[in-house]
C-alpha cells in the first residue's frame, strides 16, 4: 500500500516529463502545415489558460477576451513599425498594455454579476474591434490592419520556419502552465475560489473581493496580450479580425468545454475547438455543422466539461 501511494505521488512528474517530451518530438515527423496547426494550438492554449484565470478561477464571465489578444498583437506591431523596436522587446510591453486595458475596463464593472458583466465584456470587445477598423488615431491601418512587421530575432537567431515558432510558443506555454499552477495553489488562488463560491461570505471573512477580481482580470488580460504578441512574431500582418466576437466565443468555449477552472481541461478544449477542426478541414462546410452538434451534445451529456476540476464538478452537480 505504501509503495503504491509512493508511486502515485511520483506519477504527476512522470506524466509531465512524458508530455513535455511528446510536445517536443511531435512536430518533427509532421509537415509544415501540421506544424503550423500545432503552433495555433499552442497560441490558443495560452489564451485558454489566461481566460481560465478570469472565468475559471474567479468565476467572472468574460466574452471579450479576443480584444486583449488583439491589443497585444497591435502593440507589438505598432512598436516595431514606428519605433523599430525588435519584436522580442515588445513582448513585455504588449503584456503591460493589455493588462492596463484589462484594469481600465474591469475597474468600473466589477460589481456587476454574471450575465450583466458578460454583456459589458462583449461590448468592450466590439468597441476595440470597431476602433481598430475605424483606424483610430490614424495608426491602426483600418480594416486592412498593419503589415510589414519585422521577423523575430531571438538571441541572434531569426525565427523563420513554423518549427521555430512552434518551439517559441511551446516555451511560453510551459511557462504559462508553471505560472497558473502556482497561482491556483496560492493565497490569491484560494481567494478566487472563495469569491467564486460565495462572494458575501468571502467578503465577511476579510477577503478583498474587488481586489481579487481585479487581479484576475488584469493577469488574464495581460497574458492574452502576450499571446497576441506571439501571433505577430510569426504572422507579420495584424488585422481587426483578431478581435472578432467569434474569437472571444472560441476562447470561452475552450475554457468551458474542457472544464471550467481545469488546466488539463483547457488543453482538451483547445484540441476540440482548434486542432480537430483544422484536421477535419476536408469536410468543408459540414465541419461547422458537426462542431455545433458535438457542442450541443456535450452540454447535455457533460455540462461540467470533458476534464473538469474536481471542485468545480462538485459545484455544478450541487446546483442541479
Amino acid at each position: 500500500m505504501g509503495s503504491l501511494m509512493e508511486r502515485l505521488r511520483r506519477m504527476p512528474l512522470v506524466w509531465q516529463i512524458g508530455l513535455l517530451a511528446l510536445a517536443l518530438l511531435l512536430p518533427l515527423p509532421l509537415n509544415d502545415y501540421y506544424r503550423a496547426v500545432l503552433w495555433r494550438t499552442g497560441i490558443y492554449a495560452i489564451l485558454g489558460l489566461s481566460l481560465n484565470i478570469i472565468v475559471g478561477y474567479a468565476g467572472l464571465f468574460q466574452l471579450g477576451h479576443a480584444a486583449f489578444y488583439a491589443l497585444g498583437a497591435y502593440t507589438s506591431a505598432l512598436l516595431n513599425l514606428h519605433f523599430d523596436i525588435p519584436l522580442v522587446l515588445t513582448w513585455p510591453i504588449s503584456i503591460l498594455v493589455a493588462a492596463f486595458f484589462g484594469y481600465l475596463i474591469s475597474r468600473p464593472i466589477l460589481h456587476l454579476r454574471g450575465d450583466y458583466l458578460c454583456i459589458v465584456t462583449i461590448a468592450f470587445g466590439e468597441v476595440v474591434r470597431l476602433a481598430l477598423v475605424n483606424n483610430i488615431f490614424g495608426i491602426t491601418g483600418g480594416a486592412n490592419g498593419l503589415s510589414g512587421i519585422d521577423q523575430t530575432v531571438l538571441f541572434g537567431l531569426t525565427l523563420r520556419t513554423p518549427l521555430h515558432h512552434y518551439y517559441l510558443v511551446l516555451f511560453f506555454l510551459v511557462l504559462t502552465l508553471f505560472a497558473v499552477r502556482r497561482l491556483e495553489n496560492s493565497r490569491l488562488g484560494r481567494a478566487w475560489m472563495y469569491v467564486r463560491e460565495d462572494e458575501t461570505a468571502a467578503e465577511a471573512m476579510g477577503i478583498d473581493t474587488t481586489w481579487a477580481k481585479l487581479l484576475a482580470f488584469v493577469l488574464g488580460s495581460g497574458w492574452a496580450g502576450l499571446a497576441g504578441a506571439l501571433y505577430v512574431a510569426r504572422i507579420p500582418v495584424v488585422s481587426p479580425d483578431l478581435a472578432r466576437f467569434i474569437e472571444s466565443v472560441v476562447m470561452f468555449c475552450i475554457v468551458v468545454l474542457g472544464g471550467t477552472g481545469s488546466i488539463p481541461g483547457v488543453f482538451v478544449g483547445t484540441l476540440g475547438m482548434i486542432t480537430l477542426p483544422e484536421i477535419f478541414r476536408f469536410l468543408k462546410t459540414w465541419r461547422d455543422a458537426w462542431m455545433g452538434v458535438a457542442m450541443v451534445a456535450m452540454m447535455i451529456a457533460r455540462p461540467e466539461g470533458l476534464w473538469p476540476s474536481r471542485r468545480i464538478r462538485m459545484e455544478i452537480r450541487e446546483k442541479e
Binding site: Y194, T200, A201, E203, A204, G206, E318
Partner: protein, 237 residues
C-alpha cells in the same frame, strides 16, 4: 468607552429606508442582542457594521475608529467578524479548508494553529469531522462550522445573524450555550435573533427594533419582564 458605538445610523437599500436612525452601544465583554420582527432592520444593522452595506447618515465607531468608509475586508482585520445569516459554508471544501479560510486575514502560522486549537476545543465535533466536506455536515454542525470559521480570525467583536435559524430545538439550546461560552472566553458578541426568549436569556443587554428604529432597550432581564416585549416577542397574552 464602549467597544462599539453606533449613532443615528441611516441605511437605505435603493429607495427603501431600512434603518431610520439607530443608536446603540456594545461594551467590551458583553453579549448584546437585537430582537424584532422580520424587516425591523436587525440584519441590516449588522451588515452596516461589517461594511457589506454603507450607511447614508450617522456613524459606526469600533474601538475609537470610524468604520463608515473602511472596506469590509479591513474591518475584519480590525477585529470585527460577521457571521451572515443562513450558514454560508463552502460545501465543496472540507471542514478544515473552511476553517483555514476564516483565518485568511492572518499570516502567522503559529497564530492560525492556536486559533484552530481554540475552535476545536469549543467544537470537538468539528475536530472529528475535519476531513469531511462541509456539505455532508448536519445543519447544527454547519452552524458550528460557520461560527468556528468566524472565530478563526480571532475577532474582538463577533456579529451573529440568526444562528438558531432552521435548527432543531435541542441544537438551538446547544448553540446558545456555545455563544455564552465564546463570550466567557473573552469575545464580545452582538447577536441578532428571532428567538427572542433564548436570546434574552443569554444576553446582558438588548435592543428592540421596529421598522428601522430602536423602540426599547435595557438590561435583558428587565426586557424579559416588560409587558410589551412579552406580548410582542415572547408570545404571551
Amino acid at each position: 468607552m464602549p467597544l462599539l458605538r453606533i449613532e443615528n445610523l441611516h441605511t437605505y437599500y435603493g429607495h427603501v429606508h431600512a434603518l431610520k436612525g439607530i443608536d446603540l452601544e456594545v461594551e467590551e465583554g458583553e453579549i448584546v442582542t437585537l430582537i424584532g420582527a422580520n424587516g425591523a432592520g436587525k440584519s441590516t444593522t449588522l451588515r452596516t457594521i461589517s461594511g457589506l452595506v454603507r450607511p447614508r447618515e450617522g456613524r459606526v465607531e469600533f474601538n475609537d475608529q470610524v468604520l463608515n468608509h473602511v472596506p469590509a475586508h479591513r474591518i475584519v482585520q480590525m477585529g470585527v467578524c460577521h457571521v451572515p445569516e443562513g450558514r454560508r459554508i463552502f460545501t465543496t471544501l472540507t471542514v478544515m479548508e473552511n476553517l483555514t479560510m476564516g483565518a485568511y486575514t492572518l499570516k502567522d502560522e503559529q497564530a492560525i494553529r492556536e486559533n484552530l486549537q481554540r475552535v476545536f476545543d469549543l467544537f470537538p465535533r468539528l475536530a472529528e469531522r475535519k476531513n469531511q466536506l462541509g456539505g455532508t455536515l448536519s445543519g447544527g454542525e454547519q452552524q458550528m462550522l460557520t461560527i468556528g470559521r468566524a472565530l478563526m480570525s480571532r475577532p474582538r467583536l463577533l456579529l451573529l445573524d440568526e444562528p438558531s435559524l432552521g435548527l432543531a430545538p435541542m441544537l438551538v439550546k446547544a448553540i446558545f450555550e456555545t455563544i455564552r461560552e465564546i463570550n466567557a472566553r473573552g469575545t464580545t458578541i452582538l447577536l441578532v435573533e428571532q428567538n427572542a426568549r433564548a436570546a434574552l436569556k443569554i444576553a446582558h443587554r438588548a435592543y428592540v427594533l421596529e421598522t428601522g428604529r430602536v423602540v426599547l432597550s435595557g438590561p435583558a432581564q428587565e426586557l424579559m419582564q416588560d409587558e410589551r416585549v412579552r406580548k410582542a416577542y415572547l408570545g404571551e397574552r
